[in-house]
């Protein structure tokens, strides 16, 4: 290499080379995905096995294959165990996987659309908007849309909050991290206050307590009959986002640059906002606001496979599913027999991660300013 090193770039160039060597180019996507899929199967098995009643993993598979009609093992388990695995834990593990995957891809796309690494549905108040929408429906007893009324209201709340945060954080075509986080926090605070006000003043006192627990985010109480909607939302979301992965990449180059490469930025962002609010709303309606999954997963995944959305989205989905299954296992186990809302646990990991991310970004900005 004969490229001359300019006087400002020496140190940066050396650091850059070390960094790129460590990453050895784009990591092999196929290997990452296979490893994560295996991890997902193992995690789901553990999710079915661990709890107040321990079921050995071998027996879990026996019950599963038996239920699917394959007689690979003789049924040597009690009917109660079968009910626990199939009717209580299985929908819960599935919802954990669906919600984890969904929140991770929503976070990934939101970070590209808002062009800010701290964007995340929970931090931006989008989840609070969804919660408020859902609570309004519960308190007023509205059922205009039948069984999906809750999800429709959560979607509307999510979209409203997202648009509000976006409009308040944006000045002169730019969104700084400070403004984004501040408007997110402020709007989330207001929405949560309204939500609490509604709950405390409603005359349905016993319902309020259950709803309050739901606002902490949890996967309990799910049944097979309510699982289809979050699953459909996830598939729709991932499908559309994967098809739009190139356009999400373009946004990383900046809005003007994205326009010069053929993206109608305003229209694209509006459509994606609707999609992301829909997925977030449906997930929040199903399991309450679960924070920081959408923040942590995309960043961890980018360290492994780089920033191209065609790689990040599928990897983040699998990683998010694995993460939330384990977070839920922990939620069941750490304080047994008391069950901790899984949102409390994700916030426990996510808060420190957020602080680390903020300091890293500040450090990068200083490095750049100094060069």
């Amino acid at each position: 290499m004969t490229a001359p090193v300019d006087e400002t770039g020496t140190e940066q160039a050396v650091r850059g080379r070390q960094q790129s060597d460590r990453r050895t180019g784009p990591a092999n996507l196929a290997v990452t995905l296979v490893v994560l899929t295996v991890l997902l199967v193992v995690s789901a098995t553990m999710g079915l096995a661990i709890g107040s009643v321990q079921v050995p993993p071998g027996q879990v598979w026996g019950i599963l294959t038996h239920a699917l009609g394959a007689d690979w093992s003789t049924p040597d388990w009690s009917g109660a165990r079968e009910t626990i695995v199939l009717d209580i834990r299985a929908p819960r593990v599935l919802l954990g996987a669906v919600a984890g995957a969904g929140l991770a891809v929503v976070g990934t796309a939101l970070q590209a659309l808002i062009r800010n690494p701290l964007a995340e549905p929970y931090l931006l108040g989008v989840s609070s908007g969804a919660s408020l929408g859902a609570v309004v429906v519960i308190v007023l007893g509205v059922t205009w849309f039948g069984p999906v009324s809750l999800s429709v209201a959560a979607f509307a709340g999510a979209l409203g909050a997202l648009l509000l945060v976006y409009a308040t954080a944006r000045t002169g075509g730019r969104i700084t991290s400070t403004r984004l986080v501040l408007s997110g926090v402020a709007i989330a605070a207001v929405l949560t206050a309204v939500l609490h006000l509604l709950l405390l003043t409603t005359d349905r006192g016993n319902e309020a307590r259950a709803v309050l627990a739901w606002t902490l985010g949890g996967l309990g109480g799910v049944s097979w009959s309510t699982l289809w909607l979050p699953s459909a939302a996830l598939l729709l979301g991932i499908g559309i986002l994967m098809a739009q992965a190139r356009n999400l990449n373009l946004l990383l180059a900046g809005e003007e640059a994205a326009t010069t490469m053929g993206l109608d930025v305003a229209r694209f962002r509006a459509r994606m906002f609707v999609l992301l609010s829909l997925v977030t709303g449906i997930l929040v309606a199903a399991c309450g606001p679960i924070g920081f999954v959408g923040l942590m997963l995309p960043h961890i995944v980018r360290l492994a496979v780089g920033g191209d959305h065609r790689r990040v989205l599928p990897t983040a989905a699998l990683g998010g599913a694995v993460f939330l299954i384990w977070a839920d296992i922990a939620a069941r186990v750490v304080a047994a027999p008391t069950e901790i809302p899984v949102g409390v646990l994700t916030a426990l990991c996510g808060g420190p991660f957020f602080l680390w991310l903020m300091r890293r970004d500040a450090r990068r900005a200083t490095d750049r300013g100094g060069s």
Binding site: M1, A3, P4, D6, T8, G9, Q12, A13, R15, G16, R17, Q19, S20, R23, G25, P26, Q111, A112, R115, N116, P117, A243, R246, N247, N249, L250, L252, A253, G254, E255, E256, A257, T259, T260, M261, G262, L263, D264, R302, L303, G306, G307, D308, D361, R364, S371
Partner: protein, 257 residues
């Protein structure tokens, strides 16, 4: 890669009540390298933004090969016109190769993958700006000059017939300034480039447009228009202009007062 004709016809650009550019007309014939020069705030960047469809003209028209640039679908235009803009980008761990690959997007349909033809185009775009060695480096960690070259490579990968660049030689050391302008010179495409350095502009461009206060003060071949009189009027500086014996291009020497 072919070359397109650019016609800017009586374009006025405004920001609120403020006029950025007033009644500017400019023509770039296919294959020409046109330089846009002028002091800071003279409207160079604004005029370029009207061409790459970020700032809509209040009056007047921008046409590329006779078609109104502002009534074509954005994606259609992006297959003809590429740009290197002045804008910082976010931090998202893309490699240099991935950044250049973005340039292929307007030529792709929804789920198209990257073909070996794309790979070839990306490789030759990187080679054209002497950035082959950078391909696997994270874009975030490049120096300002390296980034600039990569962004030019991205525009080249777009295979434009008209390339618009806003001060592409900023941050570049002199060797890379010459290399980048040389690469633009060799392109079959029509090129419209805003430049600060009058001597580089005089050497590389077929014709220059001099902007001052949002209006065209002069236009034509560098040797015809770069005069001490014009430079005094536009920049308010004293200068001497000679024809350099080796390059044959006008050479501006500024005379500090």
């Amino acid at each position: 890669m072919t070359a397109a004709e650019l016609d800017i016809d009586g374009v006025t650009l405004t920001a609120g009540a403020h006029r950025l550019v007033e009644d500017v007309s400019l023509t770039a014939r296919p294959g020409e390298l046109i330089g846009l020069v002028g002091p800071n705030g003279s409207g160079k960047s604004s005029l370029l933004r009207a061409v790459y469809r970020v700032l809509r003209p209040a009056t007047g028209q921008v046409s590329v090969d006779g078609a109104d640039a502002w009534s074509l679908p954005v994606r259609r235009l992006a297959r003809t016109v590429a740009a290197v803009v002045q804008e910082s980008s976010a931090e998202f761990d893309l490699t240099v190769r991935e950044v250049v690959a973005m340039g292929r997007t307007p030529h792709k349909r929804l789920l198209d993958g990257d073909t070996s033809e794309d790979a070839d185009l990306i490789r030759s775009a990187l080679a054209a700006v002497d950035a082959t060695d950078l391909a696997r480096r994270p874009f975030d960690q490049l120096s300002g000059g390296e980034r600039q070259r990569v962004l030019i490579a991205r525009a080249l990968a777009q295979q434009p017939s008209l390339l618009v660049l806003d001060e592409p030689t900023n941050h570049l050391d002199i060797r890379h300034q010459l290399e980048v302008l040389g690469a633009l010179r060799r392109l079959p495409a029509t090129v419209l480039v805003a430049l600060h350095d009058l001597n580089l502009a005089a050497y590389y461009c077929d014709r220059l447009y001099v902007l001052c206060d949002g209006k065209v003060s002069a236009s034509g071949p560098p040797a015809d228009i770069l005069t001490p009189h014009l430079l005094a009027e536009v920049y308010g500086v004293l200068s001497e202009v000679t024809i350099h014996p080796r390059t044959g291009a006008p050479q501006v020497t500024f005379l500090p007062q």
